[in-house]
């Protein structure tokens, strides 16, 4: 199995009115080719900054990203575009309103500079057909398309260069559930057909569970838990992950609204707490949590940054056994 993305000790800080915002604060992970890594977390946890760092749209303050074994920093933009492509949340603002659909999808090919017009046309027609955009729709402007159709166009634009990796930042959050289902199905099909590696960022845990093979949970700029998807959803180890999962409202009447026990304090990336960064909101925090910064512990494939995980080796063992069994 080859490694598609390798992120090592990645940091990104922003200066805001004299305060330092630590948006990404020491992130490590690897994604193998063909896997789907879901990244979940609340708004402001650094998910989107992480996505921009991985796409090379933002330079890191520290650490680095290797894509297919090569450093993104300093890579030629055209080369990078053939390797990794984005799909953004809002198909209303990510498409140029003054260009026809066909031209929007052709632009990445034209930017490569060496393809003839007839080759470009053929490729555009092929990919638009694949995502379900008819030839007459290709002549229209984005405003003449529905939200779901626009997101299909965004997918076509991302795939027209046949990249190896696609970074999806909340690709279905702006869509209705019926359209969301269509787009998720399309992404899953394309991923299998083209052996794509996906980074799938979302705050919707049910969507991530549906599409991801592995999940990373982000809190205040760090990945606080990471595991294969099935295991994370079955046996979440970090109290934050547990709270996130408990907050998901399944369509089952009579169960009421869960008490997640997180308190009303919002996390602030310009003022990250000492010790465990989650301890002020953690329903299971004890005295040591305010002092000792937890390291990633647990099983090799299932780790969590929580002192409790070390204190309860059984919990980790159980998770490990699930993996083996």
């Amino acid at each position: 199995m080859t490694i598609a993305i390798e992120v090592t000790n990645l940091h990104r800080r922003f200066e805001q009115r004299g305060r330092v915002v630590r948006a990404v604060d020491g992130v490590n992970f690897t994604v193998n080719t063909g896997e789907v890594l879901g990244i979940v977390g609340e708004s402001g946890c650094g998910k989107s900054t992480l996505a921009r760092l991985i796409m090379g749209l933002l330079p890191p303050s520290e650490g680095g990203v290797l894509v297919e074994g090569r450093a993104l920093a300093g890579m030629d933009r055209r080369e990078r575009a053939r390797l990794i492509q984005p799909i953004f949340q809002d198909p209303f603002s990510s498409l140029n309103p003054r260009q026809r659909i066909r031209d929007i999808v052709e632009l990445p090919l034209a930017a490569q500079g060496h393809l003839s017009a007839s080759v470009r046309r053929a490729r555009v027609t092929e990919i638009l057909g694949r995502v379900g955009i008819s030839p007459d729709m290709a002549e229209r402007l984005p405003a003449q398309l529905s939200g779901g159709q626009r997101q299909r166009v965004a997918i076509a634009r991302a795939l027209v260069l046949q990249p190896r990796i696609v970074v999806c930042d909340e690709p279905t959050s702006a869509l209705d559930v019926s359209v969301q289902a269509q787009i998720l199905n399309l992404l899953a099909e394309l991923r299998r057909e083209l052996n794509l590696t996906l980074l799938f960022i979302s705050h919707n845990l049910a969507v991530v569970e549906h599409i991801a093979t592995n999940v990373a949970v982000m809190y205040l700029g760090r990945i606080v838990e990471q595991a294969p998807s099935a295991e994370l959803f079955r046996a979440p180890a970090h109290p934050y992950t547990q709270a996130l999962l408990a907050s998901v409202l399944t369509p089952e009447p009579g169960l009421g609204i869960p008490d997640v026990g997180l308190g009303p304090t919002a996390p602030d990336p310009s003022n990250i707490p000492r010790g465990c960064r989650f301890h002020p909101r953690c329903p299971k925090a004890f005295a040591d949590c305010a002092v000792t910064t937890p390291e990633m512990r647990g099983h090799e494939r299932h780790g969590a940054e929580c002192l409790l995980v070390a204190d309860q080796p059984d919990a980790v063992k159980t998770a490990g056994q699930l993996l083996l069994g």
């Binding site: 609340e42 209705d176 559930v177 569970e209 369509p251 009447p253 009421g256 609204i257 009303p264």
Partner: protein, 330 residues
Amino acid sequence: MNVSSAAPVLDIANLRIAFGMRAEPVRGLSLSIHRGETHCLVGESGCGKSVSALSVMNLLAKGATRSADHIRFHQQDLLKLSEREMARLRGDKIAMIFQEPMTSLNPAYTIGSQMAEVLERHRRAPRRQALEKAADLLARVGVTAPGMRLGQYPHQLSGGLRQRVMIAMALMCDPELLIADEPTTALDVTVQAQILRLLLELQQERGLALLMITHDLGVVARMANRVSVMYAGQVVESGPVQPLFAAPSHPYTRGLLACIPVPGNGQSAAPLGSIPGTVPRLAPGFTGCGFHDRCLHATPDCTGAIPTQSPSQGHDYLCRLTPGWTKEAA
């Protein structure tokens, strides 16, 4: 609490909304809400949920017209009120929470000033008293350091805090009816759970009647006493939450439920269900079932008059398919 004994707090009968001759986004909506009850109006964008709510408040955009047999708030028909009388009710007895706390708070005024204004206008309360009440309510909705927040501007607050401010502001005059349009859609799941718990608590405390508009079926299942599923300007299925989720009967309701990834099912190769096509924009004078062009069970009959079916007490749907069809189809 027996919610259905007394007269409803809000009773909408046969509401129609038209944008001239071009479109009729609401085509005969009827629903009622009792004291202490939560009624969820659910559907995709463009189905007419939000305009229906706005029309109750008489806040429709210019060019839109509403008509109805009546829109009763207690005994009073809101259709017969002047703008002045309506303005007196709005924010007082009937309050509304909008989806976007970013755009519905005024960026140029402090939270305290915007909250106090509600009480000053409706109750002629002195500012100091209004600010006290605002601080109390902010604390009640779980805002830390409410005194400090009153002096802050909307941009200084996070999305979750702004939404709490919106809720607190809606409660300034102790409303009897609260209309909440996607109150938690823009929020994280953890904050959503906190806000929804809060709404339930307030409802139990004050007997609030809550009309909640959402497209999230998880929220509907957990919050609603009654549900109305809206499609192309009509309620296509309605009923108490338990029977409706146990036996969803309109093909659209069933399609919506099949679209949601169910937590606990794990990563799956099986595709999600989906509804092909998009919500149509229907012009005035349209007859038949608005869903027929997307429906897998449609026949030529579906362009004619559509009967109402009642699988159980209080549970109705609008379709030619008779109760029990789902078992035969399976």
